[in-house]
C-alpha cells in the first residue's frame, strides 16, 4: 500500500461566507481520516480573479488542500462531496507523488555528482587580468 500524495484545489462562489468554507474543509478532513488518509495542509487563497468564467462568476474563493491517501476511494468520495456541495463551483485533484519522487531523484543525483567531482576553484583565472589592468591604469 503505497502512500500517495494529492493536491486538491476547489473554488467556491465568491459570495460564500467564511464559516461555510471552514465547514466544507472540516467535513473533507473528516472524510479523509475515515478513509485512512490525512489532510496535511490547508491554504485559503481567498477570493481571486479566475482566468475564465465559471458558473457565471469571474471571481472565486480558492481553497488548496494537500493530502495523503492510501486508497483511491477517498479521492472519489471527496470529489463526490465537492460535486454535491452548492458553494463549490470547480475542483481539481492532482496526484503528485510520482513527480515528487522524480524531483527527489534529480536532487539526489545532482548532489551525488557535486560530491564526486568538486568544482575546481575558479579564482586563479579570474584574478589574473585584474592586477594587469591596475598596473596599466597606474
Amino acid at each position: 500500500m503505497a502512500e500517495r500524495l494529492y493536491d486538491l484545489i476547489f473554488i467556491c462562489m465568491p459570495t460564500t461566507p467564511e464559516e461555510e468554507i471552514t465547514k466544507i474543509v472540516s467535513t473533507l478532513e473528516q472524510t479523509a481520516s475515515e478513509h485512512g488518509g490525512k489532510v496535511e495542509k490547508v491554504e485559503k487563497w481567498g477570493t481571486r480573479k479566475m482566468a475564465y468564467r465559471v458558473a457565471k462568476q469571474r471571481e472565486g474563493f480558492y481553497v488548496y488542500l494537500a493530502l495523503h491517501s492510501t486508497q483511491g476511494a477517498l479521492i472519489k468520495e471527496l470529489e463526490r462531496r465537492l460535486k454535491v456541495s452548492d458553494a463549490v463551483i470547480k475542483y481539481m485533484t492532482v496526484r503528485l507523488d510520482e513527480e515528487i519522487k522524480r524531483q527527489q531523484k534529480l536532487v539526489a543525483h545532482r548532489e551525488h555528482r557535486a560530491r564526486r567531482r568538486p568544482r575546481k576553484p575558479a579564482a586563479a583565472p579570474a584574478a589574473g587580468p585584474a592586477p594587469e589592468q591596475q598596473a596599466a591604469a597606474s
Binding site: I11, K90, I100
Partner: protein, 110 residues
C-alpha cells in the same frame, strides 16, 4: 564577445524571423541558415529552468508560468523561449493543470 570568429552555426535555432523571406513561417526547411551571405548570429538562448535548476514546475505558481504563455493563452513554443525539451514538457503539463483550475485561461474572451 565571439564576433571575431564567425563560426556558421547549424540552423537548428530557426526561431528568429528572417527578413527577406516570403514563405510561410512553417516552411523553414533544412537549408535555413544558408541563404546568401546574410547570416544571423543570435545569442543562444538558455533554458531558464535549467539555469535555476528547477526540478519541478509548480502549476500553482501562476506568475512563474505567465512568461511562457501568450496573452491569448497559448503556450509559447520552445524556439521563442529557449526552454529545453525536458522543461518544456513539464511546463506544458503545469500550464494545462493551471488552466483546469482557472488559474490560466484556455483562451481569453474579448
Amino acid at each position: 564577445m565571439s564576433e571575431q570568429q564567425p563560426v556558421p552555426r547549424p540552423s537548428h535555432a530557426g526561431g528568429p524571423p528572417r527578413e527577406g523571406r516570403s514563405g510561410p513561417p512553417g516552411a523553414g526547411g533544412p537549408p535555413g541558415g544558408r541563404r546568401g551571405k546574410r547570416q544571423y548570429f543570435r545569442k543562444k538562448k538558455v533554458c531558464r529552468f535549467c539555469v535555476e535548476k528547477v526540478d519541478f514546475i509548480d502549476y500553482k505558481k501562476v506568475e512563474m508560468l505567465q512568461p511562457f504563455v501568450q496573452e491569448r493563452g497559448k503556450i509559447l513554443p520552445r524556439r521563442m523561449t529557449g526552454t529545453c525539451s525536458k522543461h518544456q514538457r513539464w511546463l506544458g503539463v503545469a500550464v494545462k493543470r493551471a488552466r483546469n483550475i482557472a488559474l490560466l485561461p484556455f483562451a481569453t474572451e474579448l
